[in-house]
């Protein structure tokens, strides 16, 4: 081997060892893997295909690769780009060349039309060398610009390790799917900064821990309790997504559902007051073990997630009657809108399972912008041009069905189960609203009760699903046990659907 070749190899080996010993010790103490060991968990055969910029800043032996490994690798045989902070190098802080490497990875993903995976384990900007870099036309200041213009073009998946504040906390929230380690945290400013600026004392967990972001803020899609689990989840998420918006998601062999479809009719109680497990219903229509619920701990009244039906990737949007009766709240409206938008961006057909009393009412939700945020969900559904199947599972009152792709929202088909009830409101509220004065005039309480029940029964007959199927309010009333095969048939029928919306630059709703 010649001296030049030897020098390259020796330097490369040094760089691949990462930061100084103390940096490695700190990473080990925090129970976190060294970045190059971490990366092996994600990629086929644990291998990186190409790495670039590894010699960045090679004149400084303490700044190997300037604290970030970037390149390409294969996941399930498909090539993606990645960036991965090296916490052993100055706590993964973003120096100027580090930022340049991140930006080049983003540009490469856009140009090559491939997903990008961000493994974030960084303390933020390297303050001692920023000096305006954060607003430079290129570099750190450009990261979020590129995140923005990539959004919906190529998938961006983030995994967050450790405590990531300020600059590094934006990348995770720009991702299509964010996985947080259960002991990680992110916030717009660190607890130390928060105390200095507003005098609030708070721990990283309270401020932006995985629990907070997965249950309260809704910024985190999935939580992992080990680095292996995080990598498995990232691989799984990518298995539902195409390489870019130009392609269809990959298909897999069909697998029978884990719950026999014959049980569907027994899963759904007739009484609209009685909760049931929407997860069990989902397990009776999708391929076994294919449902990956996103944001499961946040706004639980709406369940969203990827699944496969007869091998085809679908997005499931389902009201959850076991939580808050399945009513739609401001948070669940955001959750639904964002998921619908994600699926539409990546050509994932949508299956809506409707069982909702509608949008929640009252002062709390009005102050939290139920109208504005509910509008967002209705808008996302209305504008989604992927195949859409709406299944009326049980109650469907008020405007909830608009957001849930009801008949007027241009689904490709609306199917009803025999348990379906479609009405402006339930019988109790409707009779109270329409006949309040008339009923109040009946002084005998028993007589009033009988008259009320008669009116309710008349009202119920008005929304009897057989009557509504007769009037073609729904396209078809089906045997519950055929739900999976009917939905799958419609998804197949509309797999080449192409529709265009009227010309516009973009909507004014965000």
């Amino acid at each position: 081997m010649g001296a030049r070749q030897e020098r390259v190899r020796a330097e490369k080996l040094r760089i691949e060892r990462g930061g100084p010993e103390k940096g490695h010790a700190r990473q080990t103490d925090a129970n976190k893997l060294f970045v190059r060991d971490r990366l092996k968990l994600f990629f086929d055969n644990g291998q990186i295909n190409t790495e670039y910029g590894s010699f960045a800043r090679n004149w400084d032996s303490e700044l190997a690769a300037d604290g970030v490994v970037t390149g390409s690798a294969n996941i399930e045989g498909r090539t993606i780009f990645f960036t991965a902070s090296d916490y052993t190098v100055k706590a993964g802080s973003i120096g100027s060349y580090h930022a340049e490497k991140l930006v080049r990875a983003q540009e490469a993903a856009i140009r090559a039309r491939r997903p990008i995976l961000y493994l974030i384990d960084s303390s933020g900007a390297r303050i001692d060398e920023t000096g305006g870099h954060h607003v430079d036309k290129r570099g750190g200041g450009q990261l979020f610009y590129l995140h923005s213009i990539m959004s919906g073009s190529v998938p961006q998946i983030g995994v967050l390790y450790g405590t990531c504040f300020a600059g590094t906390a934006y990348t995770p929230v720009f991702c299509d799917v964010l996985i947080m380690m259960d002991d990680s945290s992110m916030a717009i400013a660190s607890p130390r900064m928060v105390e200095m600026v507003i005098g609030q004392k708070v721990t990283p967990e309270e401020l932006g821990g995985a629990k907070m972001h997965s249950e309260i803020s809704g910024s985190c899609h999935l939580v992992a309790s080990s680095e292996t689990e995080a990598a498995d989840l990232a691989r799984k998420v990518l298995s539902y997504l195409p390489q870019s918006c130009d392609e269809l998601p990959p298909s897999y062999p069909s697998v029978e559902p884990s719950t026999p479809p014959d049980e569907i009719d027994d899963i759904i109680p007739n009484d609209a007051n009685r909760p049931y497990s929407i997860h069990r219903l989902i397990s009776a229509i999708v391929d076994a073990d294919s449902f990956l619920e996103l944001k499961a701990g946040f706004a639980k009244e709406l369940v969203v997630g990827f699944a496969r039906m007869k091998g085809r990737v679908v997005g499931i949007v389902a009201n959850n009657p076991a939580f808050k009766g399945g009513a739609l709240f401001p948070d669940s409206s955001d959750k639904g809108a964002e998921f619908v938008w994600l699926c539409d961006a990546y050509q994932i057909p949508l299956v809506y399972l409707v069982d909702t009393p509608g949008f929640m009412v009252g002062t709390q939700v009005e102050r939290a912008s139920i109208l504005k945020r509910g509008r967002k969900f209705i808008y996302a559904t209305s504008s989604a041009t992927v195949p859409r199947v709406c299944v009326i599972v049980r109650k469907s009152y008020g405007a909830g069905i608009y957001a849930m792709s009801g008949p007027a929202y241009d689904p490709d088909v609306t199917i009803a189960l025999p348990s379906a009830e479609i009405a402006v409101m339930g019988p109790e509220a409707a009779i109270n609203a329409v006949y309040f004065n008339k009923l109040a005039q009946i002084s005998d309480l028993e007589e009033r009760k009988v008259a009320t029940e008669e009116l309710r029964e008349q009202y119920r007959q008005g929304y009897d699903i057989f009557k509504l199927a007769g009037e073609m309010v729904v396209d078809e009333l089906i045997d519950p046990s055929s739900m999976r095969s009917v939905i799958a048939s419609y998804l197949d029928l509309y797999s080449k659907k192409m529709i265009s919306l009227p010309p516009r630059r973009h909507s004014t709703i965000l």
């Binding site: 808050k324 009252g362 009152y397 339930g426 109790e428």
Partner: protein
Amino acid sequence: MSDVKSPMTGTIVKLLAQIGSPVESGQQLALIESMKLEIPVESDASGVLKSYLVAEGDFIEEGSTIAVVE
């Protein structure tokens, strides 16, 4: 001691347990009428029902404490 909080804004239609009686985690302690539905309020903890802070017919906001289990 554990506060049992309302999962939803609505009206208390029924209190389901006796003060001083044993309570299991997941046991329904009250029913709330909200959005034309009856929504159960379940205890997060096992113990003894120390008190109800609401009465049947009361309007309650989401997150407000309706009972204390210790």
